[in-house]
């Protein structure tokens, strides 16, 4: 393939132009083997190999989707500052490799459950940009009908269980989902994601014990971005080796900024979980933004640190370098792709802005299951008295 590219360039024959979706017409699945940046560190298991099977298609897909995620988060930042998004907004930029690498090896039957930094995971699970922005702005076409907001994205048909505000609460839920999957013999697993701050919650250990006791196919993914809001991991945890925290549960430490390392680890974890029960994956990652939009992100870490990570370990840059070094695209083509992505995001935002807010009657729907007709009282006697539909 590289040879044919060389030939075409030297002959001056124009290369296949990108399609409207920024994808090359050639759905080239030529296999490529990529080495992960770092070896895996394992706890109570044998680490997988550093050589990751991939393809040219996958490489380009990774780039495109991660650039899309990055662009989406930056756009959300501007929307928040313009007060179109209210409430809380926790951005994922810097951590895209985790979402992407995971999606590459799982199916829509495998479940993912995460905390509140969920925009990109939702996108990875097949959510559309329109649904994302509509939900962020509280419009009725949002994925949670505008009632959830940034922290509560869900997608049932892709087994994405959201979107949770209370730190650590989603992990026992994830183990419950894993139990259900094991029970119906679906050969599916659950990825329960949490952060380094949540790693100190008691309910995590309860969930781990249960999963290990009953051999549940649950994979606990600790997205260690080294700061629990403003607290550095070493100030909150006696043992910041989160992959070892499972004690009797095996664990793997992964470079979370390398999408291929994540992919390999998740593949390994899925196989392990289906055979042997729970496993912990610690993704060593980083977020560029602060904890949320209310946090500048620079009071507890230096700007040098942030820009250092951006230069050395940025996940999109890494993929870009791989794409360029494997001659899959030129700089210009990648820039064009990014321009298209920007347009795609802008279009989605414009469409979402036009969407209407949910009906006020939606305030009362889905408190209980439909048809229970419970009454809800507000201002006394006659004013707000609604039968909850």
């Amino acid at each position: 393939m590289a040879l044919s590219r060389l030939t075409s360039r030297s002959n001056g024959i124009s290369r296949p132009l990108s399609t409207a979706f920024g994808r090359f017409i050639s759905t080239d699945t030529t296999p490529i083997t990529i080495e992960t940046s770092l070896p895996f560190t394992a706890h109570l298991c044998d680490p997988p190999s550093r050589s990751v099977e991939s393809s040219t298609q996958e490489l380009l897909d990774f780039f495109r989707t991660m650039a899309l995620m990055r662009r989406m988060e930056i756009a959300a930042d501007s929307l928040y500052k313009a007060k179109l998004i209210r409430g809380f907004c926790h951005l994922y930029d810097g951590q895209e490799a985790v979402a992407i690498g995971m999606e590459a090896v799982i199916t829509k039957k495998d479940a993912i459950i995460t905390a509140y930094r969920d925009h990109c995971i939702f996108l990875g699970r097949g959510g559309s940009l329109y649904e994302v922005f509509a939900e962020l702005m509280g419009r009725q076409d949002g994925c949670s009908k505008g009632k959830g907001g940034s922290m509560h994205f869900y997608k049932k048909d892709s087994s994405f269980y959201g979107g949770h505000g209370i730190v650590g609460a989603q992990v026992p839920l994830g183990c419950g989902i894993a139990f259900a999957q094991k029970y119906v013999k679906e050969e599916a697993v659950t990825f329960a994601m949490y952060g380094d701050g949540a790693a100190n919650q008691g309910q995590l250990f309860e969930a781990l014990n249960i999963s290990a006791l009953w051999d549940l196919p649950s994979i606990l993914v600790c997205e260690n971005n080294h700061y629990g809001m403003g607290t550095a991991e070493w100030r909150a945890a006696k043992s910041p080796s989160y992959y070892k925290r499972g004690d009797y549960v095996p664990g793997l430490k992964v470079d979370g900024m390398d999408a291929f390392a994540v992919k390999q680890a998740c593949k390994f974890a899925k196989e392990h979980a289906l055979k042997n029960g729970p496993i912990i994956l610690e993704m060593d990652t980083y977020r560029y933004h602060g904890h949320s939009m209310s946090d500048p992100g620079s009071t507890y870490r230096t700007r040098d640190e942030i820009s250092g990570v951006r230069q050395e370990r940025d996940p999109i840059e890494r993929i870009k370098k791989l794409v360029l070094s494997h001659d899959l695209a030129t700089e210009k083509e990648l820039k064009d792709m990014e321009k298209e992505i920007r347009k795609e995001v802008d279009d989605a935002i414009a469409k979402a802005k036009d969407c209407s807010m949910p009906e006020p009657s939606e305030l009362f729907t889905n408190v209980y299951v439909k048809g229970f007709g419970t009454k809800s009282f507000g201002a006394d006697r006659k004013e707000v008295k609604a039968a909850l539909p």
Partner: protein, 358 residues
């Protein structure tokens, strides 16, 4: 708005009830006190400084308190009193409160911060089963009276499901602890000092909406406002309104509007919800014959229900109309629907009018 309340408080004469409420404790002389204009978080900060200064065995801890806390209530404490007395904890509410109970059991004053009242539920078991019952089940051998749990509560305009809850009703159902909610900076400082020094475990909810919004003249010295004493902050004859925390500012607006229509409203700040000052409210309702309670928490099972039932028992023959409750709706605290959910001034005004015209 809060400064309006402040002015009312200053001028108020004790109403006709034995308990009556006094603004400032008698340990200070009103004449020469120096006051400073402070907002709520600064007043709380001052109270914490004084508490740690006056008792060397008091500690402040919680998530992110070291740098001052997410609402700046603990600014300057770590620098002044050291990291051994003011320190950050990991993210584990149950562990934090349990730890605080143990510390208090050794005779210390543990001032625990729960970052948002919405996160207090993992610690609910510790508060209900351990803190509230410690003295009782050990036959007074042990107690955790030095424990004070502070948490910001209440709506803030855009908080959504998990940054706006008002969980006071859950805690009012637990004999053994006290529940205190201040309405303004001046009140907050005095009530917090009282709560910290009270020999019972106290859950202290701070209205987060008022952290920056409310500004009042706060005396700089050490003063305490007694617990379990409600205060009549506005006198009237036609209807009694009872509330606490940030809701009082909304209720006061409704009272002013009602006055234009010729309805004279009496407004009471409960301050301490558990144990609450039944006598003051009773005396007021016996005078006016009507009661309206308002709180942000959902109406079903909210603390308004307890007040309503008690007043009904005590004032049945004096009541001219059913007790009215203008509260949050029976739904989870919504995100975009917050303006519909909240017990707003107009809802309260409507309820005042329909109660008076019953």
């Amino acid at each position: 708005m809060a400064s309006l309340l402040g002015r009312f408080c200053r001028k108020l004469v004790v109403p006709g009830s034995a308990h009556g409420a006094r603004m400032v404790s008698t340990t200070s002389s009103c004449g020469s006190e120096t006051v400073k204009s402070l907002n709520l978080y600064s007043a709380i900060n001052q109270a914490l400084h004084i508490a740690l200064e006056t008792d060397p065995r008091s500690y402040v801890f919680g998530e992110d308190v070291g740098f001052g806390g997410v609402f700046r209530c603990t600014t300057g404490l770590a620098e002044r009193f050291g990291k051994n007395r003011v320190f950050n904890t990991p993210l584990c509410e149950q562990g934090i409160v349990g730890f605080g109970i143990g510390l208090a059991a050794m005779g210390n004053r543990a001032v625990v911060e729960i970052q948002f009242a919405d996160y207090i539920y993992p610690a609910f078991d510790q508060i209900v089963n351990e803190a509230a019952k410690f003295r009782y089940r050990s036959g007074n051998q042990f107690n955790c009276g030095g424990l004070t749990i502070r948490a910001p509560y209440g709506a803030v305009g855009h908080g959504g499901h998990y940054h706006s809850q008002s969980p006071e009703a859950f805690f009012c159902h637990v004999p053994g602890i006290k529940v205190v909610i201040p309405r303004s900076p001046r009140e907050a400082k005095g009530l917090l000092l009282s709560s910290i020094r009270d020999p019972n475990p106290v859950v202290f909810f701070e209205p987060k909406w008022l952290y920056r919004q409310a500004v009042e003249e706060v005396p700089e010295h050490d003063y305490m406002i007694p617990l379990s004493e409600a205060e009549v902050i506005r006198e009237g004859n036609d209807i009694t309104l009872v509330g606490w925390g940030a809701q009082l500012t909304v209720m006061e607006q409704a009272c002013l509007d009602a006055e234009k229509e010729g309805i004279s409203c009496e407004l009471i700040d409960l301050k301490t919800l558990l144990p609450w000052d039944k006598e003051t409210v009773e005396a007021s309702v016996k005078k006016t014959g009507r009661l309206l309670i308002s709180h942000e928490a959902p109406v079903t099972g909210g603390f308004g229900a307890e007040i309503s039932a008690t007043i009904l028992e005590r004032c049945f023959l004096k009541l001219e109309a059913p007790v009215s409750r203008v509260c949050g709706l029976d739904t989870p605290f919504p995100l975009v629907f917050e303006p519909f959910y909240m017990p707003t001034k107009n809802k309260i005004l409507d309820a005042i009018k329909s109660t008076v015209n019953y």
